[in-house]
Structure formats: C-alpha cells, structure tokens
Amino acid sequence: MSREKALVDASWVEANSGDPKVVLVEVDEDVSAYDKGHIPGAVRLDWKSELQDPVIRDFVNKEQFEKLLSSKGIANDDTVVLYGGNNNWFAAYAYWYFSLYGHADVRLLDGGRKKWELDGRELTADVPTRAATTYTASEPRTDIRAFREEVIAAIGDKALVDVRSPDEFSGRLLAPAHLPQEQSQRAGHIPTAKNIPWAKTAREDGTFRSNDELTALYGEAGVDLSRDIIAYCRIGERSAHTWFALHELLDLPNVKNYDGSWTEYGSLVGVPIEKGA
C-alpha cells in the first residue's frame, strides 16, 4: 500500500461523486453525527452495532461482514472511501476491518468529516439507497492482527507502540479524556512499550502528517521501524489509526494491531505492567 493509494482528498471525492462504483462510508464514534448531515451519497456504518459481534467480545465474523456489506450495497469491486469524525479515528478502524477481510480497494478521506465540515463543504441529510449486493469476504488476515499471547511474547522483543494519551500510558487515567473512566482492572502500560499518542500522526485539521514527519515522530520516540511492530490502545480503534499510518502510509509490512488492547491486557491475571511515563 502507498500513501497515494490509501488516502484521497476532498477534491477527489467531489470529482468522483457521480461514480456508482465509488462508495462513501461514514463511520463515527458518535453514530448520530450521520443523521445531522453527511457527505452526499455516503452510507453509514455503525462501529458498535454493526462491526462488533453482539454477544462475544470480537468483531463480526466473515459471514456477518459479508451480510453487512451486501445489505449496504457494497460490492467486492467497489472503491470504498471511509471517513469520520475525530481525525478519522473510527473510519481508520473500519479501514482495518476492510483490509482484514480482503477488500481490494479501500481508502480514507484525508481529514475526514472534520476537515470537510470546517472547510464548509456540502453535507446532506438525504440517505442514499443502494441495491443490495452479494459480497464475498476473504478469510480474515492474521498478519495485521495481534492476539494476547503474541503481545506478551513481544515484550522486550518486538516494538510495542502504545498510542493512548500520556495520562492513560502512565496509569493516571483508564480511558480517553472524553469518556467516563472505566474498563480495565489495572492501569499502566505493557513493559517496553513506547508512548506515541495516536493523534500525533494528524494535524489539527485531521489530515495525516507527511511521511517524513511520521518517520521522524516514531524515530524520536525510539521506535525502530525496521522491527516487527504491534500497536495497541484501549479497545483497538485508536491503534487502528496508527496501524494505518505505519502500514499503509509508511508502507511498513510488519505492523499489527492488537485490538484486545488495554481493556484485555489490563485485566489479564499475572501479566507484567509498568506504570509511570
């Protein structure tokens, strides 16, 4: 993957707005944002009710993903352009899902909903209708997803990148600062992890920093980009954003997202935890 392939800007979206094979998909943390207005033609994906299994803690399986995309009118050969609020936080999470299930052409709108909105571009309340498709997903990729055993084994071996805020990393907070403080049993971080908060990869308007800036950011934080990297946060969505920056923009092959993240690791019995900066 390359930056040119993975990211599109607003003018690209406007130029391709009439193309039925280009599907805009809004994915927000605040799922009601879509109702207030969205980019014309965009369909909605609800990260919680549609991308998570309703019973077990896992994301939707292959069959559920196929059913979901079929019902949204997304075909295997469509170009899917994801966007959302908060620097594309949840849109990047969805991007990781689409990649995991082998969608061929998926992209992010640089800057997401925020830049679109702040630039005063058109939003509409009209919900498009797309004819249902028969979507076929691939078996989930395992080269971009890390599980807990691999994470524990990675301590002192692979590069662990904790993308939460410094307060969560040090153990002063258990959740991001705009959410009630709850979840894991213990606070802190995985030993040897470096703390590079996810949003440092983005500018204030939500667009991604340049590849040179990204390389400098991780280099200055002491992350060796030539090693295998595992990114994590609290529930795996902010780290999907960092995964996107490393795997898709910098085109690094050995990057995994640990979606169990701190809510799993911080509740495991007997695993090592570090506190403090």
Partner: protein, 99 residues
C-alpha cells in the same frame, strides 16, 4: 477564569464526585455555535481528546485534575480557553471563537 458561565450539558446521570469533568459551550458573537469541534489539550499543549459540538454548541470531557486548554474549531474560526479541573467539581466554561 473558568466556571463563570453555566453553559455545558446537564450532568444528570454522571458520577460527578468520581469524575473530573470539563464541559461547556462554544459561542461566536455571543451565540452558541451549532457545528464544530472541541479539542482538549494538556499542559504541554498536546492533543488529548476531541468531541463534536452538540447542535447547541456544547461539549464535555472527562479528564484528570490539572490545567487544560479547550480549543474550539468551527468553520472559519477558532478559539481557546485555559481551565483548571478538579475532581468532584465539574468545570463549566465558555469558549469564544473568532475568525
């Protein structure tokens, strides 16, 4: 400096004794802004969290005690305000934006 204006959303249903709440309203020319974002920056100016404003210009963060900056971004304008947050006493602030 802060807490002068009661403009944030209702704290009903929130355990205010346990949480350190920073909330408020974003205004332009004295009127609430209906579209935009509030960003929470830590003492070093680093980004910590971001929320979309409600239709009535309101926002809320759950932070930790200390000094923070709320920065508001709305179409064509921005503004910020420094606040001091304490556990058990929600900060209710007003951020004015200008072009």
């Amino acid at each position: 400096m802060c807490g002068a204006t009661r403009g944030g959303p209702s704290v009903e249903g929130i355990d205010v004794a346990k949480e350190t709440v920073i909330q408020g309203i974003v205004v332009r020319d004295g009127e609430p802004v209906s579209s935009g974002y509030a960003r929470l920056l830590d003492e070093g100016g680093d980004f910590t969290a971001e929320v979309p404003l409600s239709a009535t210009g309101q926002f809320r963060f759950f932070a930790r005690p200390g000094t923070w900056t709320v920065r508001a971004l709305v179409p064509g304008a921005s503004g910020e305000r420094k606040v001091f947050a304490q556990q058990g006493e929600p900060v209710d602030t007003q951020v004015e934006v200008a072009a």
